[in-house]
C-alpha cells in the first residue's frame, strides 16, 4: 500500500479547478487539500477503532462490525464480529504475510499481499488513467467518529455520477469514511469508523498469528504475478480469449495464472483507475461452487448459453461457458457484464 505518493502529481491537475470553482475559505480549503494529500500516504501514526461496513442491494442492507488496529507502515489486525460480538473472522498482517482465520469453519488462509510495485502499470500511468476517467472535488465537512473531516468526492467523467466520497480526518489525514454509489446515485456501500483512537498507544500490540490447534491451514505461498498477456499465454500453453468490448475507460493491466489442484486459471485484470474488472478463463470441465457459502445465483443466458450471476461485495460475478468456463467479476451492471462476455474472441 505504498504507491499512493505519486498522487502528489495529481493535485496539480485539480488544485486550480478547486480554487476557481467556489468562493473558498482560503485557509481551510488549503488545509483540506493538504489533508487529502496526506490521506493518500500511509499514515505515520498507529490507530485503533471500530468500524461498520454496510452493503446495500436494492432494498436489502447487510452490515458487519469490525475492530481494527493499524501500525505503520503495513501491519494491521481486523476482527469481524457477529451480532453478539463473537469473533467471526480475524485478519492479521505484518506487511509481508497475511492470515485470514474463519472462526466458525476453523480454517486459516495464509497468503502474501500483492505488492503494488510489481504491477505492469506504474503509479504515474495509474494516476493518469484515474484522472482521465474521474474528477475530484471538495464537498464540505462532516463529523465521523467525533472527529472533524473534510469530504472529497470522486465523479465519473463518462457518466457524471458520483462514484465515491471520502471523509478525511482534518488532523491526521486518515480516511474515516468511504462511501461508494451505484448508478442510481444511491449509496451502495459504506465503511465508517464509529470510534477511533488516533493516535493510539501501541504498547503490546502483536501482529503475529498462530492457527489454533486443530484448525485447517490453507497455504497460498505464491505471490500474485503481473504478466503481459503474451507471457501469460506462453506460460499457460493456451491461446487467450479476450473481450472485444470493454466498458468506457477500462484498459488491460496484467495477467496472472491462478493454480488450483494442478489446474491453472488465467486471470486478466482490467481497470479504469478506480474499479477493477477481472476475467477468469478456466479449464472446460470446471464450475464455480456458488452458494457454499453465499447466495444462490440467478440464472440467465450469455450468447444463448446458460450462465449464472451472483452479487458479492466486490460487485457482480457472472459465470458462463462457451468452449471453456469463464468468470467476470466487477462493479458493473449485469447487462454490461453480458456485453463484455459476448464480445469474447481469440
Amino acid at each position: 500500500m505504498s504507491t499512493k505518493g505519486s498522487l502528489l502529481a495529481l493535485f496539480a491537475l485539480w488544485l486550480p479547478a478547486a480554487g476557481a470553482s467556489a468562493a473558498p475559505e482560503t485557509r481551510s480549503e488549503k488545509r483540506a487539500l493538504e489533508l487529502l494529500k496526506d490521506s493518500l500516504e500511509v499514515p505515520i501514526t498507529p490507530y485503533e477503532g471500530e468500524m461498520r461496513v454496510v452493503t446495500r442491494d436494492g432494498g436489502t442492507e447487510r452490515s458487519k462490525e469490525l475492530s481494527v488496529r493499524f501500525f505503520p507502515p503495513a501491519s494491521f489486525r481486523r476482527v469481524v464480529v457477529d451480532p453478539l460480538g463473537v469473533p467471526a473472522w480475524t485478519i492479521v498482517s505484518d506487511g509481508r504475510t497475511q492470515w485470514a482465520f474463519d472462526h466458525r469453519r476453523r480454517t486459516a488462509w495464509r497468503s502474501e499481499p500483492a505488492d503494488p510495485d510489481f504491477k505492469l502499470m506504474d503509479p504515474e500511468e495509474e494516476y493518469r488513467l484515474m484522472a482521465d476517467n474521474y474528477s475530484f472535488r471538495l464537498a464540505g465537512t462532516r463529523e465521523v467518529a467525533d472527529r472533524e473531516c473534510t469530504v472529497v468526492e470522486v465523479v465519473s467523467r463518462d457518466t457524471g455520477r458520483l462514484v465515491q466520497a471520502l471523509a478525511v480526518d482534518d488532523e491526521y489525514g486518515v480516511v474515516l469514511e468511504r462511501r461508494t454509489f451505484g448508478p442510481d446515485g444511491q449509496a451502495a456501500s459504506e465503511q465508517r469508523f464509529v470510534r477511533i483512537d488516533l493516535p493510539a498507544d501501541a504498547e503490546g500490540w502483536d501482529f503475529s498469528f498462530k492457527p489454533p490447534p486443530g484448525a485447517k491451514v490453507v497455504l497460498e505461498p505464491r505471490q500474485a504475478d503481473f504478466l503481459p498477456a503474451e507471457d501469460a499465454s506462453e506460460e499457460a500453453g493456451t491461446a487467450l480469449l479476450e473481450p472485444g468490448w470493454l466498458p468506457p475507460g477500462y484498459v488491460f493491466e496484467s495477467a496472472d495464472l491462478v493454480p488450483y489442484r494442478g489446474l491453472n486459471l488465467l486471470h486478466y485484470r482490467y481497470t479504469d483507475g478506480v474499479d477493477v474488472l477481472s476475467l477468469f478463463q478456466c479449464p472446460p470441465d470446471t464450475r464455480l461452487a456458488f452458494g457454499r457459502p453465499g447466495p444462490a445465483p440467478r440464472r440467465l443466458t450469455v450468447a444463448g448459453k446458460p450462465a449464472r450471476l451472483a452479487l458479492l461485495s466486490e460487485g457482480k460475478l457472472l459465470e458462463w461457458g462457451v468452449g471453456g468456463r469463464f468468470v467476470l467479476l466487477g462493479r458493473l451492471g449485469p447487462e454490461v457484464l453480458r456485453k463484455v462476455a459476448e464480445s469474447l474472441r481469440e
Binding site: 509481508r96 505488492d115 510495485d117 505471490q223 504475478d225 507471457d231
Partner: protein, 194 residues
C-alpha cells in the same frame, strides 16, 4: 573444431556468462542446488532456439533472456527456495522499528560501521529476507550493474516501475540490516515511506 560456428558461439556464451547466470540464480533462491537446476533449464531452453541467434546482436542479449527465464522460474518455484519464516527468531529482527529509535548523532557512527564491514555477511543475511522480486532488482542493479532500461527488459516491467522497485528494495534491505545488526537507517523523518 566445430563444423560450423554455432557450437563455438554457444561455448563462448557458456564460458562468458555461465558463472554470472549461476550467481544470479543463487542470489534469487539462496541454494546452490536449486540454482544449478534453474541454470540448466534456462540454458537448455536457450539452446533449443540457438539457431535463430542473430550474430549481429551482442551475446548479452541472450544473457538477458537467460536472466528473465531464471527470474520467472525462481519466482514460480519460490516454495522450494529457502526463505526466512516468520517463526524463525532472528535476534533483533522482530523488534518494532520506531521513528524515535534513532537519536541525533547516532546515525553516522553506525553507517561508518556498515561501510567498514568487509565480509558482507550482514547484508547477505538481510538480503535473504527479501522477496524474489526484490532480490532480482537489487542483484541486477547493484551486482550486475545493469541500467534501468536493461532491468526493464529482463523483468518485463515499465521503466518507471524499475526506479520505484529498486528504491523500495534498498529501503527494505536497510531496514533488515538495521534490525539484524543494529546498523541504523538514515535519520528519522516525520514520514517514513514504506
Amino acid at each position: 573444431m566445430r563444423p560450423n560456428g554455432q557450437g563455438d558461439l554457444f561455448e563462448d556464451f557458456v564460458r562468458d556468462y555461465g558463472e554470472r547466470a549461476f550467481h544470479f540464480a543463487y542470489r534469487l533462491c539462496g541454494s546452490a542446488d536449486e540454482a544449478k537446476d534453474l541454470v540448466q533449464d534456462a540454458y537448455c531452453r536457450v539452446l533449443s532456439n540457438w539457431e535463430d541467434y542473430d550474430r549481429s546482436r551482442p551475446l548479452n542479449s541472450w544473457f538477458f533472456t537467460i536472466l528473465k527465464r531464471l527470474f520467472l522460474d525462481a519466482r514460480r518455484h519460490r516454495d522450494a527456495c529457502p526463505t526466512v519464516s516468520l517463526d524463525e527468531k532472528t535476534e533483533g529482527a522482530d523488534e518494532p522499528l520506531t521513528y524515535a529509535d534513532l537519536l541525533p548523532g547516532e546515525e553516522e557512527p553506525l553507517l561508518e560501521r556498515l561501510e567498514r564491514e568487509e565480509s558482507g555477511d550482514l547484508a547477505r543475511r538481510a538480503f535473504d529476507r527479501l522477496s524474489v522480486e526484490q532480490r532480482a532488482v537489487l542483484t541486477l542493479c547493484d551486482v550486475e550493474g545493469l541500467g534501468y532500461e536493461a532491468i526493464s527488459e529482463v523483468l518485463g516491467i515499465p521503466l518507471g516501475t524499475v526506479r520505484s522497485r529498486v528504491s523500495r528494495a534498498r529501503r527494505d534491505l536497510r531496514r533488515y540490516i538495521y534490525r539484524m545488526g543494529r546498523v541504523s537507517l538514515t535519520p528519522g523523518r516525520a514520514h517514513e515511506r514504506p
